[in-house]
Amino acid sequence: MEKIVTRHFDVPNSYLLETYLKDNGYAAARKAITQMTPALVIDEVKKSNLRGLGGAGFPTGTKWSFIPQTNPKPKYLVINGDEGEPGTFKDKYIFELDPHALLEGIIITCFAIGSHKAYIYIRGEYVKSLQRVQAAVDEAYKAGYLGKGIMGTGFDIDVVVHPGAGAYICGEETALLESLEGKKGFPRLKPPFPAVVGLFGCPTVINNVETISCVPPIINKGAEWYAKLGCEKNGGNRLFCVSGHVVKPGVYELPNGTTLREIIYDHAGGIPNGRKLKAVIPGGISAPLLTPDQIDVKMDFDSLKAIGSMAGSGGIIVMDDTTDMVWAAMVAARFFAHESCGQCSPCREGSGWVYRNVKRLYHGHAREHDLRNLPGIVNNIGGNTICAFGDAVSMSIGSYVTKFRSEFEAKLVKSEYAQPNH
């Protein structure tokens, strides 16, 4: 299988400009700027069926085409590297092992949308990523791949590396813009969409790290080549992050449409200690759980949506048959309660309510109404908030309660309030 995003990962010193140039580095950027028009670049990316790999799966070329070219304001490209979705750790590898592929993708994207400034927002905990990307940016400036009139073409581009500061919500694109402007990461109400009113009130494209890293190979080898690698409407490969109860946790680059079973058993080595699969989160903690009978699903945006879950960020968390699902729900609910930004009441209050509720169930302090009320609380968060975080709480926690109802009921039987002497 042909590797795309991870193609340089095993090369020694892959993160240096010198190494990147040896494999035709920056040739795609040169080709785009000197032989293509912005419209042609956008068209090529549209035809490749590249979709946003941060989690939403929105067609990338289409997103770029939303930038109004008649707007006299400056345009911005913002790279979302706030990678915080639990179970996801792929962008870190791109930052650390192939930062120049990202920078080349940034140049091509900026050319396509008519932008001369890009920000790379990297989560604050990723200290090594921040250093590696900053070093790559410095190298690229020195060698004339960034700055004024890059590669002798007359195209100007500046790139700024920006550190986050530990807030999950800043991975939400409009919260990220607020954060980049030096504010609390409160998501914005849409519309207006960032393509029209984004960073500093200007038209802005926000793309994930992995998505942009796919752009140079698409320009080099063509949209058709890329589209053929994946499945219908979802071109190319994807970095799947596998963690939890598997023999070989890690990042695996595989074609979109690979089955979840193959990823867990063939690539990640299956479940350790001869145990059996009990549940799996297919796309980061926000994605509804799947049960063992569902793992023949193809891992692409449309197939996962069709079975009521989502491909999300590609973070696969595997749980074996020793896992207490009420405990797992409590851990997930604690995450949501901790990371709710607090802007919308249903999410701020609801996420804490859900956590306390599940916690009581797990610790044997629950009354019957705690379980009876749980689905109602969960369902009244999603759809009632500014951003998709509320939906994530509903979908995720809702799936534990629906799919493992009997385990929740068993906790109620063991609760202190169910004992005869109480």
Partner: protein
């Protein structure tokens, strides 16, 4: 107010951005790296420097987990407690650290050498269970590794 040398560094950061306020997060990182925490004095100085109200700086410091208003231990453990780490035993790891250091999450040891914080996903689930020891990622945590870390920083 900040020293001239300090201001030179801050100017370098600020000049990257279209609006001064956008430099707030990197400036807070810079100040915290130097001073180990964000003091009310620093908040006031940063606000003046960027031309924003102090309350604006304060609310940002409070919103983001990586900024701290109180001094942490010389060696601060940020232990991940989210799903991938929890499945691989982070609860036992946390309990063991509490037992060894005789502190609870959010506390600092009386000698000021260690502190413990619980955090959500650090984005290194492939080496779970993990923590950040100050800024360094330490994966595959077990009792032995924790003993080693404590011995190293004792």
């Amino acid at each position: 107010m900040f020293s001239a040398e300090y201001l030179k560094e801050l100017d370098k950061i600020k000049n990257k951005y279209e609006q001064p306020r956008a430099a707030l997060l990197p400036i807070l990182h810079f100040v915290q790296d130097k001073e180990e925490l964000i003091t009310p004095e620093a908040e006031k100085n940063i606000a003046e420097y960027l031309g924003v109200p102090v309350v604006h700086v304060h609310e940002v410091v409070c919103f983001y987990h990586l900024f701290t208003l109180k001094k942490l231990g010389k060696c601060h453990f940020s232990v991940c407690q989210t799903t991938a780490c929890a499945l691989r035993g982070s609860e036992d790891i946390i309990a063991y650290i509490e037992e060894r250091l005789k502190i609870k999450p959010g506390e600092v040891t009386s000698d000021g050498k260690f502190s413990l914080g619980l955090v959500e996903c650090l984005g290194a689930c492939e080496i779970a269970p993990i923590m950040q020891c100050n800024k360094d990622y330490v994966g595959g945590l077990d009792k032995k590794k924790i003993d080693e870390l404590i011995a190293k920083h004792r």
